[in-house]
Symmetry: C2
Subunit: 418 residues, 2 copies
């Protein structure tokens, strides 16, 4: 908290509440960098008596002094302190120094996550994450999408029984929602265009660099949108957010050494069949209809680079609600970034008879989807949508390789604490 | 979806995609009200051949025609249709007419929620809800609060063992988060001011008009905020959101007959002891230290009216993390609206030794909070915060008496579907 009643002006008085990031003591003068609300403020202390022995890195302090404008300080000014108090001091030696060049292992850092988040890198990273959420919402609201909140405790698996967390809901069996899929589809019947940014839960039994048991998904659903409209929308939204970051947050991006993402050109759109041909020519023999392995996707991603779509997937590789196209194919797409799947979407079935066929194809019982099927009897418009992994998008923005880096308190098969 | 390439101008061509809210057929002319993206558009049809027999309420249609500006139509214009197509027609007679004056029971409406949400009342209500979320965020971001997302699957109950949903997390016991309490407190250590808007889960065994098993909570936590600062902040945020609604959304508020909320004056702040005195004088004898029953709160709320705070609660009635004040009392508050609790907050303990005492007082084991206590050893600043029930706030804004009305798919002890 910075209180500068007359603004940041040479010679005016200011108070600052914050925690100590670093202390540099010289013979007659000391420099202290304090973090106040995610911004660094430099304190200058001339009076040795003020430098309390209790003052250490990570101490929380209050200080009062006179502002001096200078280019040498982090935010263009420093405070020449004339009084100071320690409000909270560390009781223990921290397990790692947040200013060390040797970054401890991720596991150790996650064990002490609250402290790890004090690293300047993480302050920038999570400030950027908050901005990204804001820019996504800004875009969606400007396109007249309604923000909705659907239940996370549900009675039926949205996409089949795999990877679900079951729980007891009073005296009934229930599950944590894998996605807001069925709800968002039902909602476009009334609201035409909806979005949700919220948690999704997947009981992923393996531990990879790009999967979490609890993730944040940005979901949209829109009546009357065709496959190409959806890809256009997603592409424009991504470009809006990235351009906004470059416009507003370039300093923080530079500090964390984020990669420069080129979004000046149209994202290429390859059909699944084109990717199969490329794999056959460059990697190994696979067949039309086979799923693309992560090896294939990665190789193709390195070949193409940047953002691109893979569209028109075989119907059998897609969930029951995806709209068929030309028999065995579907009106669907994945948004990829160098082999990493960021989003999956497509046109949906809106005819209840066709939806029953989809359930049968996927080996699901119509009985479990009784309520959902019933809704389709009352005039469901043609529609489509996608889900975008916010955490994965943050991996792309920040350039980190482990998804746990961009989540405050990640959850995986091994990690439930903190 | 409305496509009017030359804008809404007299004589220009427009296409509209939407669903039919109502049909009024006269001898030579028909009027159709279509909902396109939550806005009503009037279609005028002169050509009887165009009025297909398939066209019913709830049909989804596409229509094309010429715009005519007129005050008589819902949005100041109507479309004189020259071609029309039915894109999706109801397969079954709906269980209730969404335009009926006799509103079906809430249970029936929730059984067919997707259809119920087509009632113009609900379109307005959930549009307002989306706006309220947006205005809250606007306020919080303007005050430099960081948006965070904390895990919903947690290892330890935040506030003791009551009212938790347990689940199996791989091979471990886990719970659904009752609140982001411990996480948001830890996060202010790095980020100073944070907020989260997300689901919370409470296994409420009873079924009341103001409780849900899954609700949306707006949580803030801020370093260096005292009890009075927190009340000021909450009061100003509520006033900002309500004034913004009156400024931007007065038409929708009028249509749903929302009550007029007076937020021109400062919200009164009563101490717990003052409320006890009032109850003793006006209702029945209770003792200093007793909890206030819903009967007491309701009577006091009717006496006071509007928004008000009850502060300085006995420490023993508050969770372990609340900061003591004058021995048996605490630096805490509830924000009330006519007897309904909307928010609960206060200053928190930041000293680990005092926090251990709080746990003991609440009958909780320090062992279960090992990780959390450890964090307090590394320089936790003084801090405070509150949680605000977004659904309850929507009850106040809309004037409905049952919290289920303001939630898309409510969850309670009896309702898990849809």
């Amino acid at each position: 908290m910075l209180i500068a009643q007359n603004g940041i002006n040479e010679g005016s008085e200011a108070e600052v509440y914050g925690w100590v990031l670093s202390i540099r003591e010289q013979k007659t003068i000391s420099f202290i960098i304090v973090y106040e609300n995610r911004k660094q403020v430099q304190l200058v202390i001339n009076d040795k008596k003020l430098m309390s022995s209790q003052l250490k890195q990570n101490s929380v302090i209050w200080a009062k002094g006179i502002i001096k404008i200078t280019d040498k300080a982090p935010n263009g000014f420093e405070i020449h302190v004339n009084s100071m108090k320690v409000l909270s001091k560390p009781k223990k030696l921290p397990p790692f120094n947040i200013m060390s060049r040797d970054i401890p292992t991720l596991d150790l850092r996650l064990d002490f996550r609250a402290l790890d988040l004090r690293r300047p890198y993480n302050i920038d990273l999570f400030t950027l994450r908050s901005k990204v959420l804001h820019y996504f919402r800004e875009y969606l609201i400007s396109k007249d999408f309604l923000e909705v909140q659907t239940p996370k405790i549900i009675a039926t698996a949205s996409e089949g029984g795999a990877a679900l967390f079951p729980l007891m809901y009073y005296d009934k069996q229930a599950f944590l929602a894998q996605s807001p899929q069925l709800y968002k589809e039902e909602l476009i019947m009334s609201f035409e265009r909806v979005f949700e940014i919220g948690p999704i839960f997947r009981a992923e039994p393996s531990r990879t660099l790009k999967h979490l048991s609890e993730a944040i998904s940005l979901d949209i659903e829109a009546a009357f949108y065709k496959n190409e409209d959806l890809m256009d929308f997603l592409e424009n939204m991504i470009k809006y957010v990235i351009n906004k970051l470059y416009e507003k947050d370039s300093e923080a991006l530079k500090r964390i050494k984020a990669p420069i993402l080129d979004v000046s050109k149209k994202f290429p759109r390859y059909s699944y069949s084109e990717v199969v041909s490329w794999v056959n020519k460059n990697l190994e023999e696979i067949h039309e209809g086979d799923d693309l392995s992560s090896k294939h996707l990665e190789a193709f991603g390195n070949h193409v680079g940047g953002f691109y779509f893979i569209k028109d997937w075989p119907l059998k590789l897609k969930p029951f609600y995806i709209q068929p196209k030309d028999g065995d194919y579907s009106n669907s797409f994945d948004l990829m970034y160098k082999g990493l799947e960021l989003s999956s979407g497509g046109e949906r079935v809106h005819d209840p008879t066709l939806l029953r066929k989809g359930l049968k194809r996927s080996g699901l019982s119509a009985k479990s989807f009784k309520y959902h099927l019933e809704v389709y009897n009352y005039g469901m418009p043609p529609h489509g949508g996608f889900g975008l992994g916010v955490d994965r998008f943050m991996m792309v923005v920040t350039g980190v390789e482990n998804i746990r880096e961009v989540v405050l308190y990640p959850r995986d098969v091994k990690r439930l604490i903190p």
